[in-house]
């Protein structure tokens, strides 16, 4: 299980830099970042070097943020590997709410962060245990990549 920060922002000039400044001032490194947005709002999802510390800093600056539990999986870095992984989840009736890739310095693997319905978490671990082409990563190993 990976702790991801989900941050609500108004889609307005200066709001992104406010959040980034808070993190930077507390010496927190951003490992991955995605933003989904509408004209009015944005949701930023971050994986950072120190989640708790980041939460405290953001909260004390009244940034609306939460920790969302997500999974990170390492799969082979080759065509079709992601498809195979997704098909596996689908075949077990698990659907992905969202997913994004996480940077890795190892050319042999790709790292995918994904979120699925909270009620089906336990299934994920079971399913992936017996699947040779994907392995779940914990927070510590993810940050070391």
């Amino acid at each position: 299980m990976i702790e991801q920060l989900s941050i609500f922002m108004q889609n307005k000039e200066g709001h992104l830099s406010k959040v980034l400044r808070i993190l930077s001032e507390d010496d927190i490194n951003i490992q991955s970042l995605t933003i989904s947005e509408t004209g009015e709002y944005g949701i930023m999802r971050l994986i950072v070097s120190e989640t708790e510390k980041a939460m405290t800093a953001l909260k004390s600056n009244r940034v609306l943020c939460n920790i969302t539990p997500v999974f990170a999986v390492s799969i082979p870095n080759r065509p079709g590997a992601m498809l195979q992984f997704v098909d596996l989840l689908s075949s077990k009736d698990l659907s992905i709410e969202y997913a994004y890739s996480y940077p890795s310095t190892n050319d042999a693997i790709s790292v995918i962060v994904f979120k699925i319905d909270r009620k089906k978490w336990t299934n994920v671990e079971e399913i992936l245990q017996n699947f040779e082409n994907a392995s779940l990563l914990d927070q510590e190993s993810l940050l070391k990549l």
Binding site: F8, Y41, R45, L64, N66, E97
Partner: protein, 432 residues
């Protein structure tokens, strides 16, 4: 607990006799001392001996806020200026302020009713009252101040603003009662965390909040966050300032001090008197004021006089919590809405705070309302779908309760400007 039991619990019959007597004297005084009223009475073919008591009230002319402005600054004063010991004035955002003058007796009467109010709202001579209403031309600060001194409580005349200092004093001076606007009370509550103060560090028991309309939900929110009882106080500068009325510990309507103020509810359009328990505009005649007494002053406040005996024992009748002033009313596609009604719905959804702003625009011939409100800091939001779900829920509730369609904009916590006095809830861009 009463400050002045003989007056506060005076039998109705006796109270009405007193009102009658005072009304007759008032008309006499106005006729002789204020040319404006003499002309108005003469226009109606009245002179003082026509007015024999309460039964003649509806023969008397109304006074409007514009009358105070038109007679700026001293035109409606009923005493020579050397008998005036203090002057207050409204903020007057447009043009000249409205000016009110107090004689020595006026100040005594004012502090008398303010003391009654404080005591009705649980303060005693042992209380430590932190008065965060503004001191100055605004009546809030000095009005409460006079009442607290009369009561013999300890008063901290901190005035408005400087939130960090407010909280420091609240903690270090063991404040038991705080007086300010409800929106500022909420801001104090949300600032506790910022300055590292816990509720358990405070001795706060109650708050006396007024000077702006607020909803029952807002009360619940303030009470929950500050662990206090929150009482609504009524006043308006034209009449004297805070202290015209107050909620007692029952917290169901505000007692108006009827020995000093004669109240009526009228239909704002036809100007006809309305019966008890009927919503309309509150009209007040000042029975004891010397400096600037007013006949049938149209307050613009919408409320009703409640037809019930209060278990607290006071015989002075109550008005219902104010939904707002007529000036604040918005008409969205024919539906009348007050900001406090929207406030109530917003808070009840549990997703957003009481920090909100309403923006009214005109598009074609229709008024469009945008509701801007800050999300609760502990909202779990991980996706745009989460936001959509919150938006849908709030919009449905606003539509269900108030029957209007609005545009909703969710804001980050802490982004709307906080007010140290009256919060500006309504931004009107209609240019009517």
């Amino acid at each position: 607990m009463y400050w002045n039991k003989p007056y506060e619990c005076m039998p109705r019959e006796q109270l009405e006799q007193l009102q009658s007597k005072r009304l007759v004297k008032l008309v006499e005084r106005l006729y002789h001392n204020v040319p404006f009223y003499r002309t108005k009475l003469q226009e109606r073919g009245l002179d003082p001996h026509h007015i024999k008591g309460l039964e003649d009230l509806n023969r008397l002319p109304f006074t409007r806020k514009t009358d105070l402005r038109d007679n700026y600054p001293y035109g409606l004063f009923a005493e020579p200026i050397n008998n005036i010991v203090r002057i207050h004035a409204s903020s007057g955002t447009t043009g000249k302020p409205t000016v009110v003058g107090y004689t020595r007796n006026d100040l005594n009467n004012w502090s008398e009713i303010a003391a009654r109010c404080l005591m009705a709202a649980s303060a005693t001579k042992n209380s430590m009252i932190q008065n965060a209403y503004g001191y100055g031309l605004f009546t809030g600060g000095l009005g409460i101040h006079g009442g607290a001194e009369k009561l013999g409580a300890s008063i901290i005349p901190v005035s408005s603003g400087n939130t960090e200092k407010q909280l420091m004093l609240m903690k270090d001076f063991h404040t038991t009662h705080i007086t300010c606007t409800p929106s500022y009370a909420l801001y104090l509550a949300e600032s506790l965390k910022t300055y590292g103060i816990a509720i358990s560090d405070l001795q706060l028991k109650a708050g006396i909040f007024g000077a702006e309309p607020w909803s029952e939900k807002m009360r619940e929110e303030i009470e929950k966050r500050l662990h206090i009882k929150a009482y609504d106080i009524y006043g308006l500068s034209e009449i004297c300032g805070p202290g015209v009325g107050i909620e007692c510990v029952e917290q169901k309507g505000m007692h108006i001090w009827e020995d000093q103020f004669l109240m009526e509810i009228i239909d704002p359009v036809t100007e006809e008197s309305l019966p008890l328990n009927t919503m309309g505009e509150l009209v007040i005649t000042t029975l004891t004021k010397e400096g600037i007494p007013l006949l049938r002053y149209r307050t613009g406040d919408r409320t009703m006089i409640m037809d019930e005996l209060c278990p607290c024992g006071r015989t002075h009748r109550k008005i219902q919590r104010l939904v707002g002033r007529t000036d604040d009313m918005i008409i969205v596609r024919g539906v009348n809405v007050f900001p406090t009604q929207i406030e109530s719905v917003l808070i009840s959804t549990g997703h957003v705070t009481a920090n909100y702003q309403l923006i009214v625009k005109r598009e074609g011939i229709l008024d469009k309302l945008e509701v801007r409100v800050e999300l609760n800091e502990d909202q779990a939001i991980d996706s745009l779908e989460d936001l959509n779900a919150i938006e849908r829920k709030i919009l449905q509730k606003i539509h269900g309760v108030l029957g209007i369609q609005v545009k909703l904009t969710l804001l980050e916590p802490g982004t709307l400007q906080r007010s140290e006095g009256k919060a500006q809830r309504l931004i009107d861009l209609r240019n009517i």
